[in-house]
Symmetry: C2
Subunit: 679 residues, 2 copies
Amino acid sequence: MNDDPLVIFTPSGRRGRVAPGTTVLQAARKLGVDLDSVCGGRGICSKCQVAPAVGAFPKHGVTTGPEALSEWNKVEARYEEKRGLKPGRRLGCQARILADALIDVPPESQVHKQVVRKDAAQRLIDMDPAVRLYLVEVDEADMHEPRGDLQRLQEALRMAWGVENASMPLPVLTRLQGVLRKGSGQITCLVHQGASGATPSILDIWPGYAEPRLLGLAVDLGSTTIAGHLCDLVTGEVVASAGVMNPQIRFGEDLMSRVSYSMMNETGAAEMTASVRDALEVLAAEIAGEAGAQASEIVETVFVCNPVMHHLLLGIDPVELGQAPFALATSDATHLPAGALVAGLHPQAQAYILPCIAGHVGADAAAVALSEEPGAQERLTLIVDVGTNAEILLGDTSRVLACSSPTGPAFEGAQISSGQRAAPGAIERIRIDPETKEPRFRVIGSEVWSDEPGFSEDAGAITGICGSGIIEAVAEMRMAGIVDSAGLIGSPEQTGTPRCVPEGRTHSYVIHDGRENGGPLISVTQGDIRAIQLAKSALYAGARLLMDEMGVDRVERVVLAGAFGAHISPKHAMVLGMIPDVALNDVTSAGNAAGTGARIALLNKAARRQVEAQVRQITKVETAIEPRFQEHFVAANAMPHAVDPFPLLRAEVPLPDVSYNTRGSGEDGGGGRRRRRRT
Amino acid sequence: MNDDPLVIFTPSGRRGRVAPGTTVLQAARKLGVDLDSVCGGRGICSKCQVAPAVGAFPKHGVTTGPEALSEWNKVEARYEEKRGLKPGRRLGCQARILADALIDVPPESQVHKQVVRKDAAQRLIDMDPAVRLYLVEVDEADMHEPRGDLQRLQEALRMAWGVENASMPLPVLTRLQGVLRKGSGQITCLVHQGASGATPSILDIWPGYAEPRLLGLAVDLGSTTIAGHLCDLVTGEVVASAGVMNPQIRFGEDLMSRVSYSMMNETGAAEMTASVRDALEVLAAEIAGEAGAQASEIVETVFVCNPVMHHLLLGIDPVELGQAPFALATSDATHLPAGALVAGLHPQAQAYILPCIAGHVGADAAAVALSEEPGAQERLTLIVDVGTNAEILLGDTSRVLACSSPTGPAFEGAQISSGQRAAPGAIERIRIDPETKEPRFRVIGSEVWSDEPGFSEDAGAITGICGSGIIEAVAEMRMAGIVDSAGLIGSPEQTGTPRCVPEGRTHSYVIHDGRENGGPLISVTQGDIRAIQLAKSALYAGARLLMDEMGVDRVERVVLAGAFGAHISPKHAMVLGMIPDVALNDVTSAGNAAGTGARIALLNKAARRQVEAQVRQITKVETAIEPRFQEHFVAANAMPHAVDPFPLLRAEVPLPDVSYNTRGSGEDGGGGRRRRRRT
């Protein structure tokens, strides 16, 4: 019926008949196959490379021969000579289909190729960034049809690429005529199509065919650290990652102290805005340098952050976020010129800030939702992003809830007597023998445990305990019976170890005494236990509030997110009662899910629409005004919990039923352990 | 059938029945009557004032009584007490319709009121500026529905005023929460809805109900002068006008010398851009000061200018406009933040630049088309906007053509031996007695003619001849037989007056010798005649080219536009042959039509769409490359013309048939007049 050659594209499987002589690129467009092209079929860019297959392919019902495609033409031969092509490759815009053909589109020739996520290999990101290069040929000026150069460029973009109503910022427009003349009418345009409903914008232009490096920066702007991922916007590859401390720490460790700083100092908010913007400028320059690039090559940026950081980044005084009703100045996603936030980037670079969920649940939580998709889970999943503030999401396909909880910086090693940030010298893992009560530990920067050969005890080698270390330490103390469920550290007599030393009316547990070598005494004090209890109670109470709202008293999965989440041991977290009771192998780590969400939004503009829609669907729960939060908080003070039984945890780990509370029962000297029933 | 009261609005004549108790404002909205309101019916702004009429109105078929409207309520009474209302006026948002009513909407209560054009009273401008104030009441923040303040404001604008998707620039957003709290949720928004397809933008905000002064600046940016009209964007009134010299004159008197300056100096274009932007800043400050306002109250600006000024204003090197194909960098209308062009205005002020018609026919010509509407004329109309460059439009309802012609600055008194700009001391009117050949004249700044009592000849009182003066002088010399049709000034013997004095091989005509009093000798030299001939030939040739293209050899009407056009005497212009032969009473002046066009675009955003469409319909004729232009130019050298007979002109004025050409016929001494037939 139809003698036209049959063409089948892999991996898409799209197939159809095309007139003989049709180029592979034309056939791909006709059949809706994702085949890249920047030069629009001029044999310049080689983005449309394909690999024709010869042989019998019963799976596809086709047999192909070498005559399927036209012989190499001059353009293709010149390209091969000048730049080379991989064996078996053809230029899709030059090779013409003459007979039945099976044509593979390699990943690098796909516009919407998929990028493997480094930190969570099970998810792929479809490449669909907001910026794209287009080569067009602009009609010469015609005195009888005297439209401007911009109008003829717009027409060329529309005709060749379907880009409608592209606008051009004034600083680009002032260069347009020179670039057009230099390229003899050929011009490569960097087009941004970010916001839905907004018209595309031509951010930059080059004469003729150009392949500028297009870099995008995804920023996770935390209260304590600012983490950036620099991505190649063509390949999707992360070309550099870097982090800097948030310099706002000098105005206050946690968010509420920064809000207070703003309330008490007229120029406080402006100072904090300037300091974070300065840090972003430094970060952008550093991370670009790491990739052998310039910050001015960064053309697109995405930011995720909590609401207070969100407002301070934009230059909005966060004072309203410090008191009910915690009104955000703006909650929707924000598009703006990146230059308003960070200096030194490409002059027309754009910025996209993810939407905030609520006054206490920010764009960082939205990014976690984008990355972890709680609304797509069959099993009820609790996602906690642990940082100075914890973002908590609970959901499955039926519904998603979100809240935040002010855990404070204890989980990051701050406000802990021997605490320090995760850096070389910090104890990050610890085990305590339940019989001898002796600890062994591992230090960041060392591969061996403290009881293994080769462990160095040089002065200064061990400097403190980091966040994951303190969680493990307290949990191990609980499992070894050094601390009771109420959080009291026992005396040497009660616990049977001289490592428990009196400190005023309380006791501390000594992990490491380096004083003989000029090092520090590293111990866990009663105050440290209290700080951890406050933090973990806040976290658990937030999760419990969401469970109440959902009408459940258990969850099926827990995902620990946040840079810190990656280092928390699920078992130890659960011994503390940070998270609800689930089977230990149902606790997984998502790494820096907020940063991953930022990277997804950077590489895929449809994901922006997706997260904007997700956020509207999420039920927001405000912990600060919910009376049950206080109840849950008090009940969660015990380790793991005063009321919730944690049967799954108890099946796997020992939780000695000790109590060192001596109040109301006289001084309980003499090493006797007092058994106590839970109420 | 329907017992609901009948309400009729004047002057619109709209009528309909409404439920008893409906407010007049609601009824107006329902019936599509243009009744203003900024506060949305809260009885605050009084923009909805109406005047109910009582009596029998057979023309409208209604009889009304005092019971037609409800009695004054508290809100209305409070307004009357605090601010007062004109007798007979009611607040449309408070007065309720109870029985048949006839209600007049006074002009000041109409949003789309009409503004009388000062300079051409026959045309009215409908008020429909791009900016408008809206008062809205924003819902309080709700923790259970935690949308941002901006989102709740957007919703309020949508619900109360139908303003969809209003965006807010970052500098306004940073102030939003403070303004909302101060106004307890009531906020007055300045909304800009300029570009078609673009979303509205909230340029400024005030707590509660506010009536800020909204000023708009219309600028006619000429090669020689920059003229500004400052308009009240609510009433449409011109509150101040001012002009400054274009400081670019120091880089070159005419456009092509400025293009040359740019070609020869690497930073030339940038220098010229900086100088014109500086001048605009000064102009804006001055004109605002004249109106007792601040430049920062200017929220909207419109610019019209020729293509070279257009490019230099935008910061685009005009080099391409100096050579074929005269490619514009951009031809369409341009919307951009005004701050990119002029410093000191409202920080969010917007700018609109009218579209250019072609590489030589600019946004000023588009503005003339908007103001004079050649495409709406029943009679074939030639419009010439005379300046350093002449813009020429020819059209009627069938078709409109446009070109520009490089007349040079002679018509403005430059390149003329005694020439000067129109300023006190300049001769602006002149008459020469055809018998005695004696001149009489009038000087700018003096009300009396030189031959009248009270004329002062103090030193320095008479300083030169301005543009309109030189045109009259040459035309009067032609009518008095002092100069022949070829442009030669006769000798004293030939002309019979000692005012013709030899100057080398040619003669000059002395108008005024002030040297005895220390003043200048003011004369018209042979070189001056040649300069005027070149300018007028260029103008006429351009008009003739359009007539060729239209296929006609006469036009029915001539409109002289341009600040200068207002001062040219039609008769004298035609004696010179500046314009084609028409009945003298078919020559009218449109005043500064380009400036008027700018003002229309400032006050009426629909006019912007109109001129954008008009420009696309205009047929462009490029004089610089049209071979017939040279032919027409040469033939137009004679006064009035070597070929075209000018019968209508000859019927009204004497054109002595003299010739002072002595070449090829020996020295023609001895006072003999030689008659010569036109070819």
